[in-house]
């Protein structure tokens, strides 16, 4: 800790927390949406597909502003969440929400690709052996898409760690509360003499990204070997 100042340290820990929760909470939704897009024909499928990919294409500032409108204290969804005891406006939870929304399309794409690679005839075999649809998903599809799930999660985690535009627009840049790592780098670069701190955070960023990639390689390869059955 001696190497990083308290402000830098708190930005790093906050980023890790934001990225962790953003990935974890969005994963079930991403799996559901990816499965629906890969396997089901339903009216409005292309609309859903478009909506999911929107954050990838829109300027992040626009996404952040839309989040502010929807989830701010005055916003319709923000009001609902507030009643449930969750406040997102100008809190770290809001940063996690912004990061999750921005990372969502990447996660859905990775999972969808791996679901499409699962032979539907294996799912039929599961059904023929008496497994209801949900159980077929849990016992056949899910274990087989594990490598894709890991890849999607790592991609989403990395994206969440690096999210800038939507976060700063939605929950501002409050040290210790919403100042994630990239926001902290940005702030340090704005003040005279802040460059060494910014550089330290840049090095930490590279380290975290590399670590995540290596971990996903390792986990992904083990999962793939399991699925390939060797």
């Amino acid at each position: 800790m001696g190497w990083l100042g308290p402000e830098e340290w708190s930005a790093l820990m906050l980023s890790l927390r934001v990225a962790f929760w953003a990935t974890l909470v969005s994963m079930p939704f991403a799996v559901f949406v990816a499965y629906a897009l890969a396997r089901w024909q339903f009216p409005g499928r292309s609309v859903v597909n478009g909506l999911v990919h929107l954050p990838l294409i829109l300027p992040p500032v626009v996404t952040g502003y839309l989040l502010l409108l929807g989830f701010g204290t005055q916003g319709p969804l923000g009001g609902l969440l507030a009643k449930a005891g969750i406040v997102v406006a100008f809190r770290w939870t809001g940063a996690a929400l912004a990061a999750g929304v921005m990372a969502f399309p990447l996660m859905v794409r990775a999972i969808r690709l791996s679901i499409e690679a699962v032979d539907p005839r294996l799912e039929q075999a599961g059904a023929s052996l008496g497994a209801p649809r949900v159980m077929v998903f849990l016992t056949v599809t899910l274990p087989m898409i594990l490598p894709g799930l890991v890849a999607g999660a790592v991609l989403a985690f990395a994206k969440a760690m690096g999210e800038f535009g939507a976060t700063i627009t939605f929950v501002s840049n409050i040290p210790g509360q919403t100042q994630t790592l990239p926001l902290a780098v940005h702030s340090f670069l704005q003040v005279p003499g802040g460059e060494p701190a910014a550089m330290r955070l840049v090095i930490v960023s590279i380290g975290v990204a590399m670590g995540a990639l290596l971990l996903s390689e390792f986990v992904g390869r083990r999962a793939a070997a399991r699925v390939a059955g060797t």
Partner: protein
């Protein structure tokens, strides 16, 4: 247990309309590819919803379109053996075998796991994953997996079609044991006459989505007008008993008082076997042949002569061993002066009886 099937379904270019009742044992859906076999099996399995129909095993109704009744596939209690095995690659052999039992209802009659594993000879494979199995081993595991799901009906869709001849010969005996040792009815799809001859209790011959002929295996196969797999696949099935294994590598069979010699078969002396004799391997003579290398000469009477457009004719000959079919040219039939009721001799070369055409155990509907 009786399986009753009634299915109508319109496909592009073909109307499928079939109805048949299958007695216990193996019912074979026999026909060329494109005759509608797989559509029918998928309707029974619930993987395809036909335009109209009803399928039931005794009073267990799988679907009845008239009453708007449709059980989803997972509630049909089937053991489906697919052509490509479809083992779960992420599970071990042991877990694959258990899969169906995780979902079988509590009160279901269960096959003894150890007995099934022993019957299929897969005990040494239990900890492996499917990727490390040979094609034949995979299919044996697939049979076990279907059986251990406590099914009320077993479906097999060309389960040997993806295997080479050696593997086919390896798997066929397991289906024979399944037929003889398990009381669950089996609906078996194939386009191979040899498989029909060895396995079928009854045969449903399909042609362009219609039932061409339906009945006990020996009757349908001995009917020269039924050739769903083409005229080359026509052949009669005889019921015989292993009489003696001779030291020169031949096995002598006894059938209705007649003797048949064929290359050594693995069955024990005294055991019952069914032998398919392909019509194109049978020659006819109008008097007892002399100085002939063929060992099998069966005396009989001409029952019928059928000829179609081509130069060939199918002659059915009633012998003491049973009905034998011979595919000869119309020219030869005329030269011999063959006519119904005439006495003649059917000649079969010993080596022409292929090993895959010989199966163990009792054939129903023969005599």
């Amino acid at each position: 247990m009786t399986l009753s099937v009634r299915v109508s379904h319109r496909l592009p270019g073909m109307d499928i309309k079939v109805a048949f009742d299958a007695p216990p044992g193996v019912t074979v859906l026999f026909g060329r590819s494109g005759s509608g076999k797989t559509t029918i099996v998928n309707a029974v399995a619930g993987l395809l919803k036909p335009d109209a129909g009803r399928v039931a095993v005794d009073d267990w109704v799988l679907f009845d379109t008239e009453k708007g009744h449709w059980l989803p596939p997972y509630r049909r209690r089937l053991g489906y053996i697919f052509q490509e095995g479809r083992l779960f690659p992420h599970l071990t052999v042991s877990q694959n075998l258990s899969y169906g039992s995780w979902f079988a209802p509590r009160g279901a009659r269960r096959e003894n796991r150890g007995k099934v594993i022993e019957m299929l000879g897969i005990g040494h494979l239990l900890d492996r994953r499917p990727a490390l199995l040979s094609g034949g081993e995979k299919q044996r595991v697939a049979i076990g997996r279907a059986l251990l799901a406590s099914p009320r009906l077993i479906l097999a869709d060309e389960p040997l079609a993806a295997l080479d001849d050696a593997r086919k010969a390896e798997i066929l005996p397991y289906f024979e044991r399944l037929r003889d040792e398990v009381s669950v009815p089996i609906l078996y799809v194939t386009h191979s006459a040899a498989e029909v001859a060895r396995l079928a209790t009854s045969v449903v011959a399909l042609q362009s989505g219609q039932v061409e002929r339906h009945g006990p295996a020996a009757e349908v196969l001995s009917d020269p007008s039924v050739a769903p797999a083409g005229v080359r696949a026509v052949g009669a099935v005889l019921q015989a008993r292993v009489h003696t294994h001779h030291p020169d590598g031949l096995t002598e069979l006894e059938a209705g008082g007649d003797r048949l010699f064929l290359p050594r078969i693995p069955h024990r002396e005294g055991e019952s076997v069914r032998v398919r004799i392909a019509a194109q391997e049978v020659m006819l003579a109008d008097r007892e042949p002399q100085g002939l290398s063929a060992l099998n000469v069966l005396k009989g009477t001409v029952l019928a002569i059928r000829s179609g457009e081509g130069p060939g004719a199918i002659v059915s000959v009633q012998t003491r061993a049973g009905m034998v079919l011979a595919r000869i040219t119309r020219r030869s039939a005329e030269a011999l002066g063959l006519r119904e009721g005439m006495e003649c001799y059917a000649v079969v070369k010993t080596v022409a009886i292929a090993p895959e055409d010989i199966g163990g155990h009792v054939i129903e509907g023969s005599k």
